[in-house]
């Protein structure tokens, strides 16, 4: 029998706010344990949460970018459970039921895969919630760090309409790109800005009823998610084929060994006793608020790709590189605006700039070469003031120092020697020093041209204008 997988994803994304969701504490990652805390996020007796309005703004921004419907009235509920890193004994979250609506419902994420082309994965909802703290178990002791308690999260829940592990991967990268593009999340995977739960089931092709689902918890990278789903699908197929039954379970993925292990079965599942948090008032969003947030949404990746194709006439591959990151796209446009030809700007960004970013593991925002300086550098090559090779050296200096290319060229005396008189003298000396090579060249060994040019560059420390020099040399050697 052939089976088809049914996959739904729940993504927790950290919002890019400076403060926590219900208090004024620093929401930044790290910090010494238990330093980003106050009575509210410590859950001290008598302390009360007050919703950070910026959290609603950011959650609405991603919801509108994904085409969701904003609910005019939604509430926060308490999800009750005991755990040492949950100081209040409950997590404040939104939850969808027949009487409670989350902030946003519907919408979808567009993906394109090699196999299935473009497709929209519909969303169930986007809701807001607070993060819990961190438990550290070591040396027979358990320690709790509450810094992360109250860090604002959104949970983006997809419909179970993801058909393959590969689609899941593309869904995650598209969602990540959208979150970062809109400035809703920094999307830094190493800081745990996105955590994924996957619901996986299989059914015989052609059947419409859903099979028993297995939840894979807390996966922290997109590739691991793809692998974990693939391995879970295979496990379920093997089980079905051998007459076994799939149990509703929660699994943890071990990326090192590419295996899943069961956390708990349905019988042990918790009763969270959700009820509306009486300490918070309902979130009421009017049309003016929605419109204000809508107006803050920048150009989204799809629209940018279309525009880059039309306006700059770039190829699909070039567009892929240039629009993957909003800052790189902006950098490209700024470089072109500074007077650089589209082809040159594309080549430099795809080549040297990307290499510099990768070598240093930095974002383009941290690159010390401004689009204006890059344009200046390219202009120096065009004018013949420096060679392309020299330009590379200058560029490396620019990356290090942030200085302008002209000041580097001037300081280091890198201006090309195009002066015929000066080149004449150097070439004559080379010819005089290498009579044997000159003789062989004259006998027809034209490969020695490279040898003479090498000697010339050595003598001029690379500053000779190669075109001028080779013309002169040809003349002198009489060929």
């Amino acid at each position: 029998m052939t089976y088809e997988p049914v996959i739904g994803l729940e993504v927790h994304a950290q919002l890019a706010t400076t403060t926590k969701i219900f208090c004024g504490c620093n929401a930044e990652f790290g910090g010494d344990p238990n330093t980003h805390v106050c009575p509210v996020c410590l859950g001290l007796p008598g302390a009360l949460p007050v919703l950070n309005q910026n959290v609603i703004d950011l959650a609405m921004r991603i919801a509108l970018a994904a085409g969701c419907t904003i609910q005019p009235r939604s509430r926060f509920l308490r999800k009750n459970y005991f755990y040492p890193d949950l100081p209040k004994g409950y997590q404040i979250s939104q939850f969808q039921s027949h009487e409670e609506m989350p902030l946003a419902t519907g919408g979808g994420i567009d993906i394109s895969t090699d196999d299935s082309g473009t497709k929209t994965i519909p969303l169930t909802r986007i809701h807001m919630e607070e993060d819990a703290g961190k438990s550290i178990h070591a040396l027979g002791e358990s320690l709790v760090d509450v810094n992360r308690c109250g860090v604002p999260l959104i949970e983006i829940v997809s419909e179970p309409e993801i058909a393959t592990p590969e689609e899941a991967f593309h869904y995650l990268t598209s969602l990540h790109q959208l979150l970062v593009y809109t400035g809703v999340s920094e999307g830094d995977m190493e800081k745990g800005h996105m955590r994924i739960d996957a619901n996986v089931s299989i059914r015989p092709v052609g059947e419409t009823e859903l099979g028993t689902k297995v939840e894979i918890k807390n996966v922290n990278s997109f590739r691991n998610c793809q692998r974990a789903i693939a391995s879970e699908i295979q496990r379920q197929i093997d089980l079905r084929e051998t007459g076994g039954e799939i149990e509703q379970t929660t699994m943890l993925y071990d990326p090192d060994r590419n295996v899943l292990r069961a956390m708990r079965t349905k019988e042990e599942s918790d009763d969270y006793r959700y009820f509306p948090d009486p300490d918070l008032v309902p979130v009421v969003v009017d049309r003016a608020w929605v419109e204000r947030v809508q107006s803050q949404i920048p150009e989204l990746p799809d629209a940018k790709r279309t525009r880059f194709a039309k306006f700059y006439g770039l190829s699909a591959d070039q567009i892929e590189v240039l629009t993957a990151d909003r800052d790189i796209a902006d950098y490209f446009e700024a470089t072109v605006a500074a007077g650089v030809q589209i082809r040159q700007a594309t080549n430099w960004i795809q080549g040297d700039i990307m290499r510099a970013l990768n070598d240093r593991k930095i974002a383009i925002g941290d690159l010390r070469v401004s689009p204006q300086h890059l344009a200046e550098l390219i202009a120096l090559i065009d004018k013949g003031d420096i060679s392309t090779n020299i330009a590379r050296t200058v560029f490396d200096d620019m990356v290090e120092t942030g200085d302008s290319p002209s000041s580097i060229v001037e300081q280091k005396g890198l201006v090309q020697i195009s002066d015929t008189g000066e080149l004449d003298g150097v070439l004559d000396q080379i010819i005089a020093d290498n009579p044997a090579e000159v003789a062989r060249f004259k006998d027809g060994d034209k490969r020695l041209m490279g040898f003479f040019m090498g000697q010339l560059m050595k003598a001029t420390r690379g500053q000779a204008n190669p075109q001028k020099a080779s013309q002169l040399l040809m003349k002198k050697l009489g060929s």
């Binding site: 001290l44 008598g46 308490r78 100081p87 209040k88 004994g89 009820f275 300490d279």
Partner: protein, 482 residues
């Protein structure tokens, strides 16, 4: 009535005026109060802050000597129900589980008292986590009624009522979730006001049932209660549920009389179970209001006045919220911890030993009411009843300015009398709980005594944010009975 032998001056205003003019020193008044607390043993205090109180008094005296402006409560000895967080001063909620808890911050109401130059004497005994109607459910022992030490003070703010009645503090703060200010005020013969939900910030008030809890004043007179309310009321950005409604000059309302007010008597609050002595005293209060120009009419509160609805809805909503609010007392971060081999045992032992019987009873009730499969039958149904109760009161306020009723069916009962029978105990709040479900304000003002000399309070209820109307009527009753 309070004894003027302890405090010079009958009113808070008189006392602050004396300090302002130099006729009295805050330090002397504070020392007198502290000595009086030691002399009169009612178990009303859990913690006495002698050092902090004297320090605050000295600051007031220095300000007065320098002619600097003084706050509206300058030099007034005040004590706080031990459910309000005080920075650096132990706050226990009368529970073993918080017996060693020292908050790093002040509740907003406490901050406002300090800013008004009040002197905070210490923290008052109560029912554990404000759960109870007699102030017997305390890890620190029961509070005794100053009028008759063999009887209860009522609860849960028993210490707050007793301290005022016994002149241990000039005024106090309590909290009211289902009657916890009005009942002890009635049993101890002092004024106790439960403000509209949202009138006073709950920030720093250790939660029992968040949608019902409200901080309010106890005082020897209506005008003093009005003054204290004016200081603590008002919007607070730290409490999302605090109202953005301007704070009126409550004390001046006390002079306005009741001419032209319509006061409704709900038949359901005068029915079976009401002791004749209590009925007699309450009707005496009502007659005073009528004599002073109020129009009295009979009304009906079919849902709000019906014990099967009001008490049932209250004990579901309150315990559901409590079951969640009290989850944080788990032995992990602060308070009592019972060491154990593993986490689950630590939780179970800490909470089993740290909480008293009534608190555990309510946590279990509330957990049950919110559980999967029971939510719709209990919590949801209770919320629907709550909506109907609100409508009942709204309808009444279409024709009435105030509602008058008893506070409780009986005067103060004997210590231990109802401890074995929680349902009987719960019925003490039969006339008060629906007020919290509706979020409206209410006062208990003394309106007479039983033949045995036990105080009886008249409950006056107003529409949301109609505290001024309540104060007008309460002041008339007080004046006529003086």
């Amino acid at each position: 009535m309070p004894d003027d032998a302890v405090f010079p001056g009958q009113t808070a205003r008189g006392l602050t005026d004396g300090i302002r003019t130099g006729a009295h020193a805050a330090r002397e008044i504070t020392k007198t109060a502290l000595a009086h607390i030691q002399r009169t043993d009612l178990n009303a205090f859990i913690t006495i802050d002698e050092e902090g109180a004297l320090k605050a008094a000295d600051v007031v005296d220095q300000k007065a000597a320098a002619g600097a402006p003084l706050g509206p409560l300058a030099g007034i000895p005040i004590a706080l129900k031990d459910v309000l967080c005080t920075k650096g001063l132990r706050t226990t909620c009368a529970s073993k589980i918080l017996a060693n808890f020292i908050p790093p911050y002040d509740a907003t109401a406490v901050t406002r008292l300090r800013r008004a130059d009040a002197i905070i004497l210490g923290k008052l005994n109560m029912d554990e986590f404000a759960m109870g109607s007699s102030s017997e459910n305390s890890h620190f022992g029961a509070v005794k009624n100053p009028r008759d030490p063999t009887r209860v003070t009522g609860g849960s703010s028993g210490g707050s009522a007793a301290a005022v009645a016994a002149d241990q503090a000039f005024m106090t703060l309590g909290s009211d979730t289902g009657g916890s200010i009005r009942l002890p005020a009635s049993f101890c013969g002092v004024v106790g006001l439960k403000p509209t939900y949202g009138r006073v910030s709950r920030y720093g008030l250790i939660a029992y049932a968040s949608s019902l809890d409200q901080i309010g004043p106890f005082a020897r007179s209506v005008e003093d209660a009005a003054l204290l309310l004016r200081v603590i009321a008002g919007h607070d950005p730290r409490d999302s549920t605090s109202a953005r409604v301007p704070v009126p000059d409550y004390p001046s309302a006390c002079q306005k009389g009741v001419e032209g007010l319509t006061i409704g008597l709900p038949e359901e609050f005068f029915g079976e179970g009401l002791q004749p002595d209590v009925r007699h005293a309450v009707m005496q209060g009502v007659e005073i209001l009528e004599k002073n120009g109020a129009c009295i009419r009979e009304i009906s509160l079919p849902i709000a006045g019906h014990p099967s609805y009001a008490i049932a809805a209250y004990y579901i909503v309150a315990t559901a919220e409590a079951s969640s609010n009290l989850s944080r007392y788990d032995g992990v971060k602060y308070g009592f911890r019972d060491e154990a081999k593993n986490l689950i045992d630590m939780y179970v032992q800490t909470r089993s030993k740290g909480f008293g019987a009534e608190v555990k009873r309510r946590i279990m009730l509330g957990t049950y009411a919110l559980s999967a499969g029971y939510y719709d039958a209990y919590y949801r149904k209770a919320q629907q009843v709550r909506t109907l109760i609100c409508r009942d009161f709204a309808r009444a306020y279409e024709t009435c300015d105030l509602i008058a009723s008893p506070v409780s069916p009986t005067p103060a009962f004997k210590l231990g009398e109802k401890l074995r029978d929680p349902l009987q105990m719960y019925l003490s709040d039969i006339y008060t709980v629906s007020v919290n479900l509706a979020g409206i304000p209410g006062i208990s003002v003394p309106c007479g005594t039983s033949p045995a000399g036990l105080p009886i309070g008249l409950q006056l209820l107003g529409d949301a944010f109609a505290e001024e109307t309540i104060l007008r009527a309460a002041a008339v009753v007080e004046r006529e009975l003086a």
